[in-house]
């Protein structure tokens, strides 16, 4: 829909595709990152018996904007011993990696950056790029804390990609597609058609799938949590041990890029989880647009449902962060290799049998 409009406006298919892919970045993610930073501070504040930012604007709503302005103005400190080229490249890679994921996320029936068939694989691939950025930053900083943080981050992200991928493969086996848009469409409206409740299949298969899907959801949620380095898996930037891990040496706007990438990542993984297991942009209860016969309302409603689901999971991530302590690095690895991966394998096999036999 948006693509057709852009096509007629620009008269060029390539230009239309590029603009469309960039749209989520500008109309959604940048404002979202600003909002998420504030949300985190508010959530933590209220959980800890305090108010959070209150000074800039009503209840501090402009706090993040003030912070960003401050960060832009700050001096960009580069120590003489830093490896300048990689030091500069790292935040860009991390930022680009986490934002590129949004291009394939279907925000609503009419709003997807790029409707590619390899959607989910693409997202996993580009977020994998983030590891390179983090490792690069940690190494180029020439700081032992940064290096330790980067090493931890690389080990952690790569380990946790395995259970994520296994669950994604499970989902692909059920839905038969890697296209996130089709996956969302497949889980047609009403919540009992969501994949967490077995998807729009009927009979024995659905009953068998429900428990497996709930476990799959838990596995993918935990492993994506680890992939974006959130508590209880935030050991790469464990404040009390490694100061702030791989971005200790960064200041000013480069720091802000890591910071914004973190929040963008939080939404990206929430969006993937919501798309795979919670119907993506599908409404749980049907659309007002259908009831009133106003078709133009449906994409807007879908956008609303999608962001609500995404924000809910972002909130859960924050909630966990301000409740739980942090794992130790070996426990984190043990958790992944001893529990998540075997469980994910078992689920993969069981779901494979179910899809083949029933």
């Amino acid at each position: 829909m948006i693509y057709d409009w852009l096509h007629s406006m620009t008269g060029s298919a390539i230009a239309a595709a590029i603009i469309q892919s960039l749209l989520p970045l500008f109309i959604f993610i940048l404002p979202f990152a600003l909002f998420a930073v504030l949300l985190e501070r508010k959530v933590s504040g209220h959980m800890q018996d305090r108010l959070g930012p209150m000074r800039v604007g009503y209840h501090g709503i402009f706090q993040t904007i003030a912070d960003i302005i401050k960060l832009i103005q700050k001096e960009d400190i580069v120590a003489t011993e830093n490896d300048r080229r990689f030091f500069d490249l790292s935040p860009i890679l991390v930022f680009a990696g986490s934002y590129a994921a949004f291009a394939a996320i279907p925000f609503s029936g009419a709003f997807i950056g790029s409707n590619i068939d390899l959607g989910i694989v693409y997202i996993i691939a580009v977020t994998g790029l983030v590891v390179a950025g983090i490792l690069m930053g940690g190494w180029a900083s020439n700081n032992k804390y940064s290096l330790l943080g980067a090493m931890r981050a690389a080990a952690q992200i790569i380990s946790y990609e395995i259970p994520t991928l296994l669950i994604v493969v499970t989902v692909i086996m059920i839905t038969g597609t890697m296209n996130l848009f089709t996956i969302s469409e497949w889980q047609t409206q009403y919540f009992w058609n969501w994949l967490i409740l077995g998807g729009p299949v009927f009979g024995t298969a659905k009953l068998l799938l429900i428990p497996l899907m709930i476990i799959s959801f838990l596995i993918i949620f935990l492993s994506t949590l680890a992939e974006v380095n959130r508590t209880p898996f935030d050991i790469p930037e464990a404040e009390s041990e490694l100061v702030s891990g791989y971005h200790t040496e960064y200041s000013g706007m480069k720091f802000a890029m890591f910071f914004l990438a973190e929040y963008a990542n939080m939404f990206a993984v929430s969006a993937v989880v919501a798309t795979l297991f919670f119907g993506g942009f599908q409404s749980p209860v049907g659309y007002l647009g259908n009831t009133f016969g106003a078709k133009w309302l449906i994409p807007i409603e879908q956008f609303f449902w999608f962001t609500s689901k995404g924000l809910f999971f972002v909130f859960v991530q924050m909630w966990l962060r301000w409740t739980l302590p942090r794992f130790r690095v070996d426990q984190l690895m043990a958790f992944c290799w001893k529990y998540l991966i075997p469980f994910a394998f078992v689920i993969l096999i069981l779901v494979g049998l179910i899809t083949v036999l029933i």
Binding site: S44, M47, Q48, D49, R50, K144, Y145, L148, T231, P232, D234, I235, A238, E239, S240, E241, L242, V243, W322, T323, L324, P325, R326, F327, R328, V329, D330, Q331
Partner: protein, 371 residues
């Protein structure tokens, strides 16, 4: 081709979020495994002992406050006990009760900081703020008593500087009623959290024998299963009048003397301190608080070693008097300093993350380590 590996020396501190002040640790690392820990102290050295020699005896009290700045009341308490024994001063009953109440409140406040920051070390930030919220209420109680919130100069030789505020006893009771549920909340949020237990149980095990050999005292010693509390074993002031238990480590979640035990001792001790305060509030007699304060503090020639159970262990004052107005020598046995020595022993073979957990569980205050 064999790959060559080398040890990495990581310098932790003096500016680091979880060295609890200006402690510098030199960590020799093999990957993330600790091979050796060398603590460097002295960044906060303020010549307390030498400085006291130029002060008159009462003038030393404000400086004792600044040693263990989280347990100022108890430092004064210890100094007052030492001086009173040196000068044979009989302290009025009411003063003793006030001192015990203040001392135990200080113990709770100090433990709250220890537990809160320990939570933050492990990565749980919320308990930290919950603990500080409760500590704030204790500081308010101190504030109405003597006007200061951190460095009180309240317990004087032979008495206390002010009598209790008329509202104090009511407010203290209210605090106890408010605080008990918060303690349970802390247990739910942190103490019995599985991740927290995984992080702290079986980490940094301190066997009783090692603890005794190193001269560890306080909650750290009791966590190793040694029943030793000066309030019971060498009673001073009026501690023999109160009913309270001495919690000792049982290795509930792991091995006796691990980080979790050391942490849990402090939780249990807060509970016991509340019991002592409740009894003291019930029994406190009326009376004058300043009648025994000497006009001129001039102890006879002699020396004294007096020790009290500070929140961190045995705080001892060794005072030599040459009969003049100034002390000839004051030596402080600082519990944090002695407890810190065992760090290297505990950390070997653990991971970097464990150093933070172990250091936090020993609960040092650098002001007292360096003096």
């Amino acid at each position: 081709m064999a790959l060559k590996t080398e040890e990495m020396v990581l310098n932790m501190g003096p500016q680091h979020p979880s060295t609890h002040g200006v402690l510098r640790l030199e960590l020799v690392l093999d990957g993330e495994l600790i091979e050796d820990v060398i603590p460097h102290i002295g960044y906060l050295h303020r010549c307390f002992e030498k400085h006291s020699e130029a002060m008159t005896y009462p003038q030393v009290i404000p400086y004792t406050d600044r040693m263990d700045y989280l347990a100022s009341m108890y430092n004064e308490f210890g100094y007052a006990v030492a001086m009173e024994r040196l000068m044979n001063i009989e302290v009025p009953e009411r003063v003793q009760y006030i001192r015990v109440i203040m001392g135990e409140f200080q113990r709770i406040a100090s433990h709250l900081v220890a537990l809160g920051t320990y939570g933050a070390d492990i990565g749980a930030f919320t308990p930290f703020l919950f603990c500080f919220r409760d500590r704030e209420k204790i500081l308010n109680l101190f504030e109405i008593t003597c006007g200061a919130r951190l460095l009180y100069n309240y317990i004087w030789i032979g008495g206390v500087s002010h009598d209790l505020h008329p509202d104090f006893i009511r407010l203290a009771r209210e605090f106890i009623i408010e605080f008990r549920p918060n303690l349970k909340e802390l247990n739910d949020l942190l103490t019995f959290n599985q991740i927290f237990i995984d992080r702290t149980a079986n980490v940094g095990i301190l066997p009783a024998e090692t603890a005794i050999n190193y001269g560890i005292t306080g909650p750290n010693l009791r966590a190793s299963g040694v029943n030793w509390d000066l309030r019971r074993n060498d009673p001073y002031s009026i501690y023999d009048k109160f009913e309270f238990e001495i919690p000792i480590g049982k290795g509930e979640k792991g091995t006796t003397g691990d980080c979790w035990d050391r942490y849990y001792m402090r939780v249990c001790e807060m509970e016991e301190s509340l019991k002592i305060i409740e009894q003291a509030l019930d029994q406190i007699p009326e009376g004058d608080v300043s009648s025994a304060i000497p006009k001129r503090v001039k102890p006879p020639v002699g020396q004294i070693y007096a020790r009290v159970e500070n929140p961190r262990g045995e705080l001892g004052y060794f005072i030599i008097s040459d009969g003049s107005l100034n002390p000839y020598r004051i030596k402080v046995r600082a519990p944090s300093f002695v407890n810190l020595e065992v760090l290297g022993e505990l950390c070997k073979g653990h991971l970097v993350a464990d150093v933070v957990a172990i250091l936090g569980s020993i609960d040092i205050v650098l002001g007292e380590v360096d003096r």
